[in-house]
């Protein structure tokens, strides 16, 4: 990685870190924290779906695992929340590896992979909803006990900075993947798996590494969700909506790009809030916007917002306009 890779990430992180000094209202900070948690989970999705081309429709399996592992460790075994966080990430990576091992070894890809991940998430949801170990349908409530060891802080801004730090770390990780040999192999598998194999890429190993990383990052976001909102149940943690949300953000922002998931999460939730302000009490209005934006993005901006911006700036410089297919694969 060169300075050119690091500077944009550094500058944006510092700018975002200054926000709580300007904005102090709790609802706004809550919104920002939630948005960043979604962005973090979406970054996890993007490693597998964006760079690896394996579209998962069940990332809730990892998000929920992160949330439940941290909550159960803390509530039932009194494990320190930071240690719980590390274990949650490990559990997410392990679940990712197992799901990946089962499905990739059977050669599932495309729609079939999407369906099998969806089914795994549903199995987790039903189990978590039925088992007494996970609190059943009543869910789990983490006790309010404001101590840094519990990942609970007096000031919401501290948690915001914590999540932001993780998002920045994953931005760096993603940039590293993009520049590394592993990332090149992953993209090769996405573009043409048979050709990659013919060139000596072990596609199973590459995809397994990607899904484990992806599962770990998404589990981290689930863990932070549980620690911030202090309540989870099966439908929140393993519900199909979180799977959809984690996939929407990278698709809208720019799939397979470093900043795409963050841009997408910010855009979607920003638009959702605006829609709520305008439409008032109509239930589901923000989700109507989400769905509409998804259809429009697929129809008119295959590379997401970042792809669109790139095409505009290319045109501005008088360069030949690239096709949508190429734009979506451009490294950004």
């Amino acid at each position: 990685m060169t300075a050119r890779d690091l500077i944009p990430i550094g500058v944006l992180t510092v700018l975002a870190a200054l926000l709580p000094l300007v904005v102090t209202s709790s609802p706004v900070l809550n919104f920002l924290v939630f948005m960043l948690i979604v962005a973090l989970g979406a970054q996890g999705w993007n490693i597998l779906g964006g760079f690896g081309g394996q579209f998962s429709f069940g990332h809730a399996a990892f998000f929920g695992t992160g949330a439940y592992v941290t909550a159960i460790l803390q509530l039932r075994y009194g494990v320190n929340a930071w240690a719980g966080l590390v274990l949650a990430v490990a559990a997410g990576a392990a679940v990712g590896w197992v799901i990946g091992f089962l499905s990739f070894r059977s050669g599932l890809r495309g729609s079939y992979f999407a369906l099998v991940t969806l089914a795994f998430a549903e199995v987790f949801r039903i189990l978590a909803n039925a088992a007494s170990f996970t609190g059943g349908a009543a869910g789990l409530l983490i006790k309010l006990d404001v101590r840094a060891a519990n990942l609970q802080f007096d000031d919401r801004a501290v948690f915001y900075w914590l999540v932001l730090a993780f998002v920045a770390a994953v931005l760096l990780l993603t940039r590293w993947i993009q520049r590394s040999r592993f990332g090149a192999q992953l993209v090769a598998v996405r573009e043409n798996e048979d050709a990659a194999k013919a060139l000596g890429v072990n596609s199973l190993t590459v995809k397994l590494r990607a899904i484990a990383l992806s599962g770990g990052v998404t589990a981290l976001s689930g863990c932070l969700y549980a620690q911030y909102f202090l309540y989870i149940d099966a439908n929140i943690a393993y519900g199909s909506w979180i799977s959809v949300e984690l996939l929407l953000a990278p698709i809208i922002g720019g799939v397979g790009t470093v900043f795409g998931p963050v841009v997408g999460a910010l855009t979607l939730h920003g638009l959702g809030e605006v829609a709520k302000q305008f439409a008032g009490r109509i239930p589901g209005i923000d989700l109507i916007v989400f769905g509409g934006v998804l259809v429009l993005a697929v129809a008119f901006a295959r590379g997401g917002i970042l792809g669109l911006l790139e095409r505009l700036s290319d045109r501005g410089r008088g360069m030949v306009t690239r096709g949508p297919k190429e734009v979506s694969h451009a490294g950004r």
């Binding site: 050669g107 729609s111 089914a119 199995v123 039903i126 239930p283 109507i288 769905g291």
Partner: protein
């Protein structure tokens, strides 16, 4: 322990629920077989059809079975239009895109219904909702029995359309070889849209059969569509008889799992079968072609 009679009754009830699953899966598998896409909007479209049946009953006093007759062409037109003017143009012919467009559509449809009807659960009652038919010592629900009969008839009709009409021939030609079909003068986008319309028309029938004994709310489709995916995969993607048999089988599995494991775990059997089939034999138990 459960007496054999209870188990048999549960299995037969499951068989009849499975008939409706089969109808839903029939549309899904038809669309998959021809367009090679997984239609994520299928559940939301089913919800639309169920609300239409409910409105016909609440506003016009129409019997839900009778409401199927006008609803079938309506759903066909809706499906035709969606594929022709939204899904087709928006997805640029890429499979991943189609998945995403249908997902986006389902989110929009579901939440428009939520905005209009709120999240209340609605039911309708008919004289025959709770009527039972005695078959020896077994008591079978009358509306479900009708569902089973209609599902078999509709599968037969669909099979006839595909195998005995020119449109059906065109559909099969496109399914096998899109480019070749285009070369001999078949209008491929039109055939795609017709197929999508037929898939949606199946949902109209399913909705009419469901409403006498079931309820509707804006989120109800999601529960059915996951089961329908299972049925489609189990029956072999694109196979009509596979969808019928798969639907009946899944209905029985769900009913028996519910009996032995309790309601909250009842559906887990379905998903475990789903995962197992995908991992071990993705062509399905009844599907012959790869």
């Amino acid at each position: 322990m459960y007496s054999p009679q209870i188990i048999l009754e549960a299995a037969l009830n499951g068989l009849m629920t499975g008939a409706v699953y089969a109808l839903i899966a029939l549309g899904l598998t038809l669309i998959y077989g021809v367009l090679h896409i997984i239609n994520f909007a299928h559940g939301a479209l089913l919800t639309c059809a169920m609300f239409a049946v409910w409105i016909a009953w609440a506003a016009l006093g129409m019997d839900p079975y009778l409401a199927i007759l006008p609803l079938v062409p309506l759903m066909f037109v809706l499906g035709y239009g969606l594929q022709r003017f939204v899904i087709g143009p928006a997805s640029h012919g890429d499979d991943g895109n189609i998945l995403l467009v249908t997902l986006g559509l389902s989110i929009v449809l579901e939440n428009v219904l939520l905005a209009v009807f709120q999240s209340d659960t609605r039911t309708l009652d008919t004289d025959y909702s709770f009527q039972v038919v005695a078959l020896g010592p077994l008591l079978l629900s009358y509306p479900r029995l009708i569902g089973l009969g209609v599902a078999v008839v509709v599968t037969g009709l669909l099979w006839l359309v595909l195998n005995r009409t020119d449109t059906g021939k065109a559909i099969r030609a496109v399914a096998k070889e899109k480019l070749g079909a285009n070369l001999v003068g078949i209008d491929v986008p039109h055939v795609y849209a017709v197929t999508f319309g037929l898939g949606c028309a199946c949902l109209a029938v399913a909705a009419g059969l469901l409403m006498p004994t079931f309820y509707v709310n804006p989120r109800i489709g999601g529960a059915f569509v996951l089961v329908a995916f299972t049925v489609v995969v189990l029956g072999g993607m694109g196979s009509l008889p596979g969808a019928l048999l798969g639907g009946l089988f899944i209905g029985v599995v769900e009913s028996l799992c519910g009996l032995f494991l309790g309601d909250s775990l009842g559906q887990i059997g379905i998903f475990l079968i789903f995962i197992a089939v995908l991992l071990v034999r993705p062509t399905g138990l009844f599907g012959a072609k790869a």
